[in-house]
Symmetry: C2
Subunit: 310 residues, 2 copies
């Protein structure tokens, strides 16, 4: 459903001058009067049985995650988070207890990343727990998906794959890294890795109408991916290539800025994985100067379509 | 659950400098850098079986209402709406069809009030339809609930009661009236009428730590309230006093501004219903200069607690 419905929605959504970037990036960008500052807003909803399992996961972790996944979108815009609007639909049985436990995690994430809870809504109903968070932030020069330039160096933060082994419960959104990058370099394009490295990389490149020559051997593989590969029947690289919920960021900068970043002391490791090229698609170096096309893989939401594609 | 939980939440929510007004007004107010402009944000969630009945109501009406009720909160802050983040949880069966019908109403409301749909989230699940909207706006001097002043004239827009007879399906948020009032007068305090005139009036006065001497005979009673009273066993005034979902605004201004407004041509009728006094509570004039205390009535959400109390 999602692709055709999003196409319909984009076609029907009016362009109003206050919205500089609407549906289709990690977050929306709104202009604010005559100032150079912009408001950034993103929304993610998670539902019991679809996006998490309350029977096996701690409610505090689920609450933490509901904030963290939105912070990852804010980081990928190069923005600073300010406030969250938190909406819970609670099962009628034990509603207060559930709300309290979920909020423990929400408050922990908000305290850690200096986010205020500015409002929201609480309802009880006959259904399961769902959490919808709208996170607001500010930015002067937002990082879009669509503005990677031929010749750019492509980096990814942290290491990839295997988050299902535990890291996905307490994602570490790259807010502080984004803050450092903003000061050191001019980021041309960025996206967060939520559905899989290769899939989100491909989305960013497609939005920019460019491709990449990948240095496959450079892709940073997490310890968890190495470990998982021992029993999963898939290689560590396959996990890094396609596992979801890494919540790292992929970004592009000029060659000049790439050198600056490689020399800098950053809060989180970053790794150069390739160079933006004019021909679209993902291209892997084989022998010498030959390249072979490779294809993205990842978690395509079957049950979920995110209007902001976050 | 709601009151104790909101108290807990307020106690646990950190005060951060970017949030000027948090949980407890119609909308949150966020400062934006050094500008005098502020961001306003409110959230309302509506769920099938709790807040509407999809079996008897049109999905387009429900979608329209999900935007309009948030617009009413924005109007009560004296703000101008800019963009909406729209999140739908859809039943698995006919998800695309349902989303399409709901969006017809959402798009209609957004077009009418110049609101952009900037993003959101769509999920399908085993449960019923729920719609969560976060609406953003801007304002220079927000109208709060807590700043009514002794001696203020108290006005209400439109007419009250009986919205259940049909008006509640297509509420008319007082965005344009708020815009006119902003230009003509300095509004001291305001609230929107969502749970009943007397209840929301009482909330505004309690937040301001003042009371009102009411001119009960002046309360504008809607035609629908008159009609309903013929069969409901309640008087037209009782309907106007306590019926929910009027989506009018109550506001206070100085005596001087009250004269200006009475003489002005406004887009929507406004009616003076009393004067703010120092002693708390609602006071009804009986004979001569004697006053008798009257008590608020309305729709107290049993199943729903709104963190923003909107």
């Amino acid at each position: 459903m999602e692709q055709s419905f999003l196409a319909y929605l984009r076609g029907r959504t009016r362009s109003l001058p206050q919205v500089e970037v609407g549906i289709g990036d990690d977050a929306a960008v709104l202009s604010i009067g005559d100032t150079s500052l912009r408001q950034v807003a993103c929304t993610d909803q998670i539902i019991d049985g679809v996006d998490f399992l309350s029977e096996t996961q701690s409610l505090a972790d689920i609450g933490y995650k509901s904030i963290a996944i939105n912070l990852s979108d804010i980081a990928a815009m190069g923005a600073t988070p300010t406030a969250a609007m938190v909406t819970l639909a609670l099962p009628k049985d034990n509603a207060t207890e559930i709300a309290g436990e979920v909020y423990e995690g929400i408050l922990e994430a908000c305290a850690k990343y200096q986010v205020a809870i500015a409002g929201g809504d609480l309802s009880t109903h006959d259904g399961v727990l769902s959490i919808s968070v709208t996170l607001l932030g500010t930015v002067t020069d937002p990082w879009l998906r669509s503005t990677a330039i031929e010749g750019d160096a492509v980096f990814v933060s942290g290491s990839l794959g295997g988050s299902i082994a535990g890291r996905h419960l307490r994602p570490e959104p790259r807010i502080e890294l984004a803050n450092q990058l903003r000061q050191l370099a001019q980021v041309h394009a960025a996206i967060d890795v939520s559905d899989g490295f290769s899939l989100d990389l491909d989305r960013m490149l497609a939005a920019s109408r460019v491709g990449i020559e990948l240095d496959i051997d450079a892709i940073p593989i997490s310890d968890a991916a190495q470990e998982l590969a021992q029993t999963s029947g898939r290689s560590p690289l396959e996990h890094a290539w396609s596992d979801g919920e890494d919540f790292e960021i992929i970004f592009t900068v000029s060659e000049e800025d790439a050198k600056k970043l490689t020399d800098a002391q950053l809060e989180t490791q970053i790794t150069r994985v390739g160079t933006v090229v004019g021909r679209t698609g993902l291209w892997k170096r084989t022998t010498g100067s030959k390249f072979e096309r490779v294809f993205p893989q990842g978690y395509i939401h079957e049950a979920t379509a995110t209007a902001s594609e976050s």
